[in-house]
Subunit: 334 residues, 2 copies
Amino acid sequence: MNSREISELLHAHENVYILTHILPDGDAIGSALAWGTALRHHGKKVRIFCPGVVPRKYAFLPGVVAIENQFPANLPLGLVFVLDCGDLERLDYMKERVQSGLTIVNIDHHATNNYFGDYNIVDKSAAATGEMIYQLIQENNLLLSKEISLCLYVAIASDTGSFKYANTTPRVLKIASLLLENGVDPSLVSQKIFDEYPLSTVFLLRDTLNTLQLDQSLRIAWMSLHEDLLESYGAKEEELEGFVNYGKNINGVEVGIFFYHTRNGETKVGFRSKAVVDVGAVAASFGGGGHPRAAGCTIGGWENNVAMDKVIQAVREALLETETLNPEKCDLRR
Amino acid sequence: MNSREISELLHAHENVYILTHILPDGDAIGSALAWGTALRHHGKKVRIFCPGVVPRKYAFLPGVVAIENQFPANLPLGLVFVLDCGDLERLDYMKERVQSGLTIVNIDHHATNNYFGDYNIVDKSAAATGEMIYQLIQENNLLLSKEISLCLYVAIASDTGSFKYANTTPRVLKIASLLLENGVDPSLVSQKIFDEYPLSTVFLLRDTLNTLQLDQSLRIAWMSLHEDLLESYGAKEEELEGFVNYGKNINGVEVGIFFYHTRNGETKVGFRSKAVVDVGAVAASFGGGGHPRAAGCTIGGWENNVAMDKVIQAVREALLETETLNPEKCDLRR
């Protein structure tokens, strides 16, 4: 769909509803707030919805308190923008109501997007949905205020890991540059979204590092944590994000694994690999999935230690196979 | 000095010597390699010197093996570029030889630069010396190859903490964008310079987090480590970089402190503050120095525990003073 069509759709609707996904991240929140504010400036009646709690670290974003976590049944007819969702399942309990007679515009950058909208703006080359919202604002000559710039910067910085991930393109850095020209403070944003956490997170990191183990080859590193410990600190599961990297980042280590044992007897496994092992395939062999460098699965029916042993053994085999195939690629310790 | 003068200087010298500082960081190494390669393409005989060992994580940079750590007495006359040094002390044991009859061009971005060169190109608004080298290459129509772009990206990403620090400007992001267009892989660079460390670093982090303590107000967090432990892992002091932030980053904490007890009985103290406490002033009261948000000092003559108590007490007093002056600014836990 092009900007003329968007313009016509907006012209035809006074009420605009913006929705984003469960477990919202910086791209979800930032994009929704930016697009909502831009359309409000444009004269629309805008409401923003998210099926779940907005993490505290985004509390500094203008307008965040107005995000609603219930999608009422009796809303006036309007145009629905679903942001940063590969499919409608990502709307969790809001999914059914959104589908009941409302016109849906799907704006997303995920490679897995299934074009669920009545209209679909899907750009799989975009680093973040925030990058697409930036383009939409520019193409439709909407006002790019300082507040909107801040929200878009949060969206883009979040989804690129502060411009560290492979999705960091020349275009995304150029947009970030223009957003700074609009008055965004990059150090404030980074402090808020990357460099602040509850006390419980440091305790959990400490306790997790205390479980660090490596296999004999020093190519596989793993750590584990039980949900009981999380509860004892009053911590949330989202605080464990990124812990798996502490093992993966060690010189010479190819695969980092993080085991999270839940109270119902399951083990959630996070995998990261550096260069050669397809951890997506390993995770798939346990019923999970993901990408070659980042994947996950959930294992039930075994004792925690047995589950761990089986996973480590599977990673060891995947590593051996890779080394047989590409012996010259595998000396990562040089 | 302008680009015509640089051009004339380069025209007058066949031999070019590039020097950078002791304990070289990404900006020092990246800038020196980029400028050296650009001048070599331009037909100059270039040698690069650094008083100290280049950290292993920069080993992937093209040309890094040619960096020399001795500055010979009998070098042919030539033009000396000193990069990323606020003063000549930063050249450590190379300082005297560099001053003996050679023409020095000082290229630097530090606010403290004392204009030690025969020619001085000092831009205190630049985020990195690498940003200035980029400008010099452009102004002098030198070739900006893929290799040079990689070195400059490393310089800029290092000194901005992957575009997180307050020195991240629209200009620096725009330059980063152009460097990516030249073929730089941002995720490879980030992996190499930010996300890889020896096994000993994780062990040290684990042991340090095990010492984490907070004062009653939960506004001051500190951790400590003894040199004996470093030795037992065969680790280097540079691996402790950034540990102090784990305390500072906790929600509600205003000051993070890291104590490093050395074998000769001293305690090296690193301070970071979030928003209100001038840790530079606290450090200065112990004979150290730094900035309001980041500072350090070395304390001798007291038992380790006494030194820690005195420092924590001084931080507590600085915090109380700030709260009296700016009561509304101090509730960082909201």
